[in-house]
Symmetry: C3
Subunit: 206 residues, 3 copies
Amino acid sequence: MTIQYELELIGTFFFAISGARTKPEKEQDWFAASFIGFITAIGGGSLRDILLGSYPLVWIGDINFLYAILAGIVFANIFFNFLFRLHRALLVFDTLGISFFTIVGTEKAQSLGVQPEIAAIMGMFTAVMGGVIRDTLTNEIPVIFRKEVYASACLSGAVCYLVFDHFQIDRTPNFLLSAALIAVIRYLAVKYKLALPSYGRKKTQP
Amino acid sequence: MTIQYELELIGTFFFAISGARTKPEKEQDWFAASFIGFITAIGGGSLRDILLGSYPLVWIGDINFLYAILAGIVFANIFFNFLFRLHRALLVFDTLGISFFTIVGTEKAQSLGVQPEIAAIMGMFTAVMGGVIRDTLTNEIPVIFRKEVYASACLSGAVCYLVFDHFQIDRTPNFLLSAALIAVIRYLAVKYKLALPSYGRKKTQP
Amino acid sequence: MTIQYELELIGTFFFAISGARTKPEKEQDWFAASFIGFITAIGGGSLRDILLGSYPLVWIGDINFLYAILAGIVFANIFFNFLFRLHRALLVFDTLGISFFTIVGTEKAQSLGVQPEIAAIMGMFTAVMGGVIRDTLTNEIPVIFRKEVYASACLSGAVCYLVFDHFQIDRTPNFLLSAALIAVIRYLAVKYKLALPSYGRKKTQP
């Protein structure tokens, strides 16, 4: 219980780092970087809670999330050049973040009594929509349209969690297995440049 | 009653088709196409319900809407090349979609007790905001800024419905007449390339 | 009490003006200009109320806000060329708008019982997020990433208000002082081209 809460804070911290250093190639001031870090960290969970009508939103009800975000922003600034070089390290943090938040979001939606299909979508939204809002505000093509196997890895993990839950697998092993599935799919997709099947069958056109 | 429900499902199906095949010119994978189809189909109604504080959102409370969206996405893929050629057919579906959703949205807002002016805005939002969100995520200029007589046709139909309702015209003929008005305005605007008056009186500038 | 209500209406009027004439360089029709004016005027307050779960939204519960927006749109059209030349005058209106809405938003959030840190963020959101949504829909880089000392001036004023409130300064002088602080920071930032410290320490890179 307490462990989940602490992990969620740590996840928020990582998402704030990932958001704050979104645009290393452009000069930006402290405020803009913090604003983006903040939106990235709270966006997905806030959208989930607004869609489900679950109030108060997590970060509004518990001030510690705000401090986790501030810590992430300060941390990212201090280690900016270091992180900038460690692209691989950031990929690890981002993957851990989406893996964990997918399952946290799925669980929360499930606890509010929605159908499993909706719970899976909410899990995916929790993980990816902060980044989608970040990319939309900064006029980038959203991450889900760039990295093919990103949101779909989250959706797979959420479905896995719900199937195991249906067969009454205990929560802790289920949580770890499903989150690990997301991380593994993401890792393999990046390593082997996997992509989902193309939509629209363009190849049949001359 | 049941007929309205079924028509709403069919409308959702058409919106999902329209969303999924938004970018026929670009290669995209199944997941991205589905995500866009989903957002397009649920965006307008979700925004309306969130603004009005009406929970649960339609598609979260009734899983059939999710299946209507999935059916639309699969259908759009199967008939992709066919639909791609039938630009005129898609225009018909889109026009039927916005005509119907405008009145459904206006009715729902009215049933929640808001003022008529607000109900008309909510009807328009139901019809067009899914497309606006879709265009924003894919970095397009939103449809309402490209096609001049689009959202304004919806607004006209919503106002028509509310005026007839004020004079106690029965619901079914009112629904059909008002939706038809939207379709006719849209048809005439496309056929004769109608545009609204320009804002800002640029012509007086040298 | 009544004065605050009237000032809020006037603020909404100014925000609608600012939104409606966002793109003076581009031809746009009446509907598109009105839509943008509307979104700019209601966006920040709506987001605040949705995040806090405070229903009904201000403009949905009180139709006068809609009329204030319509008045702003008509006014901006009539005086379009005049306003277009008076860039300085618009800057004054915009600055008055954000100064006032920051404190109104901070007060509202505080009255709903959130922590002071959250109230300050909500005050800033009330002032700037209408413009951010406007810029996102029109594919511009959001105002908060362009003008460095803009949202941060709002945040400073909100913090000032909350500190004075903590020390039990009366509401009216506190309101005026904190709003004035925002206006002064913004004025000085524009006049002396002030900017916040750069994030990410680019200068240490060769």
